[in-house]
């Protein structure tokens, strides 16, 4: 938290203007921390701050109350500057119980503000969190922070007194008390949260009133007690002028699909099976039926993929989404999509693996899986959005490539950008690129309709079943080119395998060239992809500001690579590839371009901190 303005007195307190603040709410998974974080995000975004969020929740819906395993957190960075990450260190930590304190305190910066619900620090909770003594009573444990012990449980109960709520119902309003307090601390306008409460609990006026009173109670507490000596203000960000809204990656994917359906004038069938962290795509999309979007909750991942292939043959835009374990199950049917050369998009919202792994934590470890994880030679294009808002654009791009080139396309998102939020400039519909779909109306040769008769880009036609004269069969057996008849001959298999690969490689001519942030050549190029964009971009710019010769190329097209990537890579003395895996893009780049690219790998279910990347850059340039 850096002060950009000298403190001034306000209401008898210091009034400080700061440019960037990181707040984290943490508590038991039943404490409503995701809700508090989301509300804080909405209010800050609507105020005009740039925001970036990091929800962090346990895989268990309700782990045992009060334990470290059950701690749920939501971090938000809001700023008057253009920011790319939810922040490395926390300025203000709200901890609702001892377990939350224990598992989050290490991220609070020295001198940071700690707000704890003192009522929750009783013996059984301390024991469950593994504290032998109450850390609030231990003079040393929290000495380097500004600690505010707030009896939130009691004050919340007091706030809602007289409404006739059970104690349990009253205690469930604690998150709004905490939220009200933090709103006061950062001078937030609670209006949109109040509106949200009234809408959400419209049918339960007592609960609505209780939450509003708790919110007000928290805010009043901040205002009237002497403990908070400083009151902060974070002015609106100087974002590019325009109209904004807040968006998460999964919401953006759903909107991207609605846009692509409109832009192509095709209906869209989405098949999915519930899986964390991809399920929200289905939830969002299920609301968009009036866009001609059909959502199908299949019986399993295999059926979701198989029905996506069937829908593609049926002539509509076809999408399925999953995460790593589901993508494994989809593999065989994805291969069917490859050999039948039908258009569809497979979204992989990556999470920690292998197997069930870390369902709610982010990772980038499925690149090899989607690139190579099918039997036979099975090439397909892969794109990877870099931010929540970019999911909107890359979703359209994936669908465009799939229908223009008649191929399954994989879109690699990850848990971080799927659940993370940022301000998103509302696009003008007229600025979106139409998606051109050419459907044959009649036979394409003197010998009738030839389903594998290719154009100059090696793309085969996409007949719409129901069209007279275009009856044809496709399938998983190797096909003869042109006719599409079953064909096992050695020369044909070589030809078809080569052709499928050349078609996908040829897409490089139809995607944007790779751009570079920083000098065109120099000491170090950092190459990254996917959800690490924010941390890497921030680190590279920091290092450049410190006089280092370092540039950043962030890939959004993973297969094929942009055609200028190799020459970019060869323009720097060293190459660094940071990834949230054990070295997958670095493996591919090293083998493809024979360059000694240095990997930086982290696999902890968490995004990179800016400092981790900056330190590696400094190391490489010092060595």
């Amino acid at each position: 938290m850096s002060a950009v303005d000298s403190p001034s007195a306000s209401e008898g307190r210091q009034h400080e203007q700061v440019d960037t603040v990181v707040v984290r709410f943490c508590g038991d998974s039943g404490d409503g921390m995701q809700l508090a974080g989301t509300q804080f995000t909405n209010v800050s975004a609507a105020f005009g701050n740039d925001v970036s969020t990091l929800p962090d929740f346990p895989a268990e819906i309700r782990a045992p109350v009060g334990t470290v395993a059950g701690v749920s957190g939501f971090q938000i960075c809001f700023s008057s500057q253009d920011i790319f990450t939810p922040g490395d260190e926390v300025d203000t930590l709200v901890a609702m119980n001892p377990a939350a304190l224990k598992s989050n305190i290490q991220d609070l910066k020295r001198g940071g503000t700690l707000i704890v619900n003192e009522d929750a620090f009783e013996k059984s909770n301390l024991l469950k969190a593994g504290y032998e003594a109450n850390p609030l009573e231990d003079g040393d444990a929290l000495a380097s922070f500004r600690v505010h012990r707030v009896p939130m449980t009691r004050l919340t109960r007091d706030s809602v007194e007289g409404l006739g709520l059970s104690q349990r119902e009253a205690d469930r309003c604690k998150n709004f008390f905490a939220l009200g307090l933090v709103y006061w601390l950062y001078d937030r306008n609670p209006k949109s949260t109040e509106d949200w409460v009234n809408t959400k609990f419209g049918s339960k006026p007592k609960i609505a009133e209780a939450n509003l009173r708790a919110l007000k109670g928290g805010s009043n507490y901040g205002f009237s007690t002497e403990t908070f000596t400083v009151h902060y203000e974070v002015p609106p960000a100087r974002l590019e002028p325009g109209k904004y809204r807040k968006i998460t990656g999964n919401e953006a994917l759903a909107m991207g699909m609605a846009a692509a359906a409109k832009l192509s004038n095709l209906d869209l069938v989405y098949s999915g099976y519930p899986i964390t962290p991809a399920s929200d795509v289905l939830h969002e999309l299920a609301k968009f039926k009036h866009f001609g979007i059909t959502t199908f909750q299949a019986e399993d991942e295999i059926a979701a993929m198989s029905s996506a292939v069937g829908a593609a043959y049926g002539g509509v835009m076809s999408v399925t989404a999953s995460s790593g374990p589901g993508i494994c199950l989809k593999g065989e049917a994805m291969g069917l999509g490859v050999i039948t050369e039908l258009p569809m998009v497979i979204i992989d919202v990556q999470r920690g693996g292998p197997s069930t792994g870390l369902p709610t934590k982010t990772e980038q470890s499925d690149l090899m899986l989607v690139m190579f994880g099918r039997n036979g030679e099975s090439p397909l294009p892969i794109v990877a959005p870099s931010t929540p808002g970019d999911c909107f654009w890359m979703m359209q791009e994936a669908l465009r490539i799939s229908v223009e080139f008649m191929t399954p396309v994989v879109l690699l998102s990850d848990g971080y950008i799927a659940n993370g939020a940022e301000p998103w400039m509302v696009p003008a519909v007229d600025d979106l690129t139409p998606i051109v779909v050419n459907r044959p109306e009649g036979p394409n040769s003197d010998d009738g309709y030839q389903p594998y008769l290719r154009d100059e880009r090696l793309v085969r036609p996409w007949a719409n079943p129901g069209t007279p004269g275009l009856e044809h069969r496709v399938g998983g057996l190797e096909k003869a080119d042109v006719t599409g008849n079953v064909e096992y001959s050695p020369a044909n298999h070589q030809h078809m395998s080569d052709t499928r690969l050349r078609k996908v490689e040829g897409i490089a001519r139809f995607i944007p060239e790779q751009d570079v942030d920083g000098p065109d050549s120099g000491d170090l190029l950092v190459v990254s992809w996917g959800g690490t964009f924010g941390s890497v971009r921030t680190a590279v710019r920091q290092c450049r500001a410190a006089g280092k010769s370092v540039a950043h190329a962030h890939l959004r097209y993973m297969n094929p690579f942009p055609s200028n990537l190799e020459s970019i890579i060869r323009s720097y003395k060293q190459v660094l590839i940071p990834e949230l895996n054990l070295g997958q893009l670095s493996f591919i780049i090293r083998s493809k371009f024979l360059v000694d690219a240095e990997p930086l790998n982290k696999i902890q279910g968490k995004p990179f901190k800016v400092s981790e990347i900056a330190a590696k850059i400094s190391d490489m340039l010092a060595g």
């Binding site: 409109k262 039926k289 059909t294 007279p468 009856e471 008849n485």
Partner: protein, 340 residues
């Protein structure tokens, strides 16, 4: 519209591909009946799609000059469901086998049926894996001696019709490959039913399991071993129509001799329209040699059709909210303006 259609014939439905099943395979007969029945439906050729999985029977789509998809092992019902959602005006047939539908693809079969997707699922049951050259299948009888069970199989087989009825299929039938007139009639009924039609066809694998269904297909032998189901008619079997099926005091079926003074009115009457699937299930449990095996339509009832329900939701949403407006969508929720 159908009166304006050119009169199609079986030949119109033959593709230019050479049919490559083994000589005397039961599949030939089913293919012939299919080509004979389709022209009778009054549906243009381009409105048919055949979807199959993997196995001998699943080559079927290549031999039909319609839209067709030879998919992957066990997944045909799922591929077909996606296809039907995308292209609801098509009449979709799923061609599958006992291994394809009941072993690797059991889950998809179950869910297609319980959703009541408008598909016609034809299961060619030959009680053997033919394409992989002779392993026992989930419908092979206990003790089957096959390449993978040289000491005899020790796992209990599935009864395809019990599975379908257990999933509360709205149309369930059984036919025999070489009983061509009956088979054609069943295929036609399946085509005309709205929702999932499930048809088991006893199909002879001449190479790996020859004669498995002789009891139900051989003239002079079968008459005592099968009973044709007819709606609202009593169950009577036998060369001389002298064997009846009636329910005993425990509600179980028993075979009675009609020459011994028992009248037809005492027999079990078939009711394919019964909402309750118990009768259909009871009939499915009647197996040779203890009972004559029922052939025909076990069950034909109406229930909401999945793909229609899906389509209706889309049109209702459009009627209520208007055709999707991207501008409104992008601007939904809290927005704010950053001034230049």
């Amino acid at each position: 519209m159908s009166s304006l259609l050119p009169q199609l014939t079986a030949k119109d439905f033959a593709s230019d591909q050479e049919v490559r099943w083994c000589p005397r395979c039961g599949d030939y007969s089913i293919l012939a009946q299919m080509k004979k029945v389709l022209p009778e439906l009054g549906i243009p050729k381009e409105k048919f799609c055949f979807v199959s999985g993997i196995g001998c029977s699943s080559r079927f789509p290549y031999y039909m000059d319609t839209y067709g998809f030879h998919s992957i092992h066990g997944r045909a019902p799922a591929v077909a469901t996606g296809f039907k959602l995308a292209n609801p005006d098509m009449q979709v047939w799923v061609i599958t086998g006992d291994g394809d539908a009941l072993s690797i693809g059991g889950n998809h079969l179950m869910h297609a049926i319980r959703r009541n997707v408008d598909l016609n699922i034809i299961l060619f049951n030959n009680q053997i894996y033919g394409l992989t050259k002779g392993q026992y299948s989930p419908t092979s009888p206990l003790g089957s001696l096959t390449k993978s069970t040289p000491y005899g199989s020790v796992d209990n087989p599935l009864n395809p019709l019990s599975v379908a009825i257990g999933c509360e299929a709205t149309f369930v039938a059984r036919a025999v490959d070489v009983d061509i007139k009956h088979l054609a009639g069943i295929l036609k009924r399946a085509a005309e039913h709205k929702g999932t039609s499930f048809v088991e066809v006893y199909q002879d694998c001449n190479v790996f399991n020859s004669g498995a269904f002789n009891y139900a297909s051989k003239k002079g032998e079968k008459e005592d071993n099968i009973v044709y189901l007819e709606h609202r008619k009593p169950l009577i079997s036998g060369k001389n129509r002298d064997k009846g099926i009636r329910l005993n005091a425990h509600g179980r079926p028993e075979v009675v001799d009609l020459s011994s003074g028992i009248s037809e009115d005492d027999l079990l009457f078939h009711d394919e329209k019964a909402e309750d699937p118990s009768l259909a299930f009871l009939l499915a449990q009647m197996r040779y040699p203890e009972f004559p095996e029922p052939l025909g339509v076990f069950r034909d009832v109406e229930r909401p059709v999945y793909d229609e329900g899906v389509r209706n939701q889309v049109s209702e949403a459009r009627a209520q909210l208007g055709d999707g407006d991207l501008d409104a969508l992008f601007n939904s929720g809290d927005t704010w303006v950053v001034e230049g």
